[in-house]
């Protein structure tokens, strides 16, 4: 599945939620289902800087594709991580870097989040995008 297909799948799924509580219940469900990362990746170095909630980030590169181990102490942020992993994990560095993550607006995450929460979301997206530089040839 490419980045666009994964985003369309998420948008279609979230279309069924017509109020914030149903939408956020889904985020909580996704957050609970996201497997925790190996504790060896939960280091100070892997914490995303200036993120209000503790969020650990680690990536690996295999066969020209980037894979993510991301975790957070917040269930809502874990739900968002699950969505970002679905869209971006296993994709090529250039595709990740150039991805237009329009699903974030389409499912109403940006408009519904407080500035602090939105900041955490964009810190995470920026970290994913800037991280791929080390894998680009």
């Amino acid at each position: 599945m490419n980045i666009q297909e994964a985003q369309e799948e998420i948008i279609n799924e979230f279309k069924n939620f017509d109020n914030w509580m149903d939408r956020d219940n889904e985020l909580i469900k996704l957050g609970k289902e996201l497997p925790p990362i190996d504790s060896k990746y939960k280091t100070e170095d892997n914490l995303i800087k200036a993120c209000q909630v503790k969020t650990w980030f680690h990536s690996t590169f295999k066969d020209g594709k980037v894979f993510y181990d991301i975790d957070s102490s917040s269930t809502i942020i874990r739900g968002i991580i699950a969505l970002l992993i679905k869209v971006l994990s296993g994709q090529k560095p250039a595709d990740i870097k150039n991805a237009d993550l329009y699903f974030i607006d389409k499912i109403g995450l940006r408009e519904d989040f407080s500035p602090i929460r939105a900041n955490s979301l964009w810190k995470l997206v920026n970290k994913i995008k800037s991280d791929v530089a080390k894998y680009e040839q």
């Binding site: 956020d24 989040f113 602090i116």
Partner: protein
């Protein structure tokens, strides 16, 4: 403050931090294992304003080995009904995370 304390300590899964006799009317707490930012986000959506996180007292939260708390501050204009609404909102949030 007595009314709020009684109501809050009766809420299953709520840990209230700070029970000093002469404290001001603030309630610092954690709800189940839900992150304080998650609780704050949902209270905000239910029109309840609280502060979340470290409240600039990181060493204190390091001591308790938690990432921070939710903090509700009440003033002379808050009513008993608002405290009831606040406690009901907390129960709704708990239900969402169950």
């Amino acid at each position: 403050m007595d009314y709020g304390t009684t109501k809050l300590i009766a809420t299953d899964g709520l840990r209230l931090y700070g029970r000093a006799e002469n404290k001001t009317c603030i309630f610092s707490f954690l709800l189940d294992n839900i992150h304080s930012y998650d609780v704050g986000m949902f209270l905000d959506k239910m029109s309840i304003a609280v502060r979340v996180g470290h409240h600039c007292t990181q060493p204190l939260w390091d001591h308790y080995k938690v990432e921070g708390s939710v903090r509700a501050s009440l003033a002379f204009y808050n009513t008993f009904e608002e405290i009831d609404y606040f406690c009901e909102a907390l129960k709704k949030i708990q239900k969402m995370f169950k």
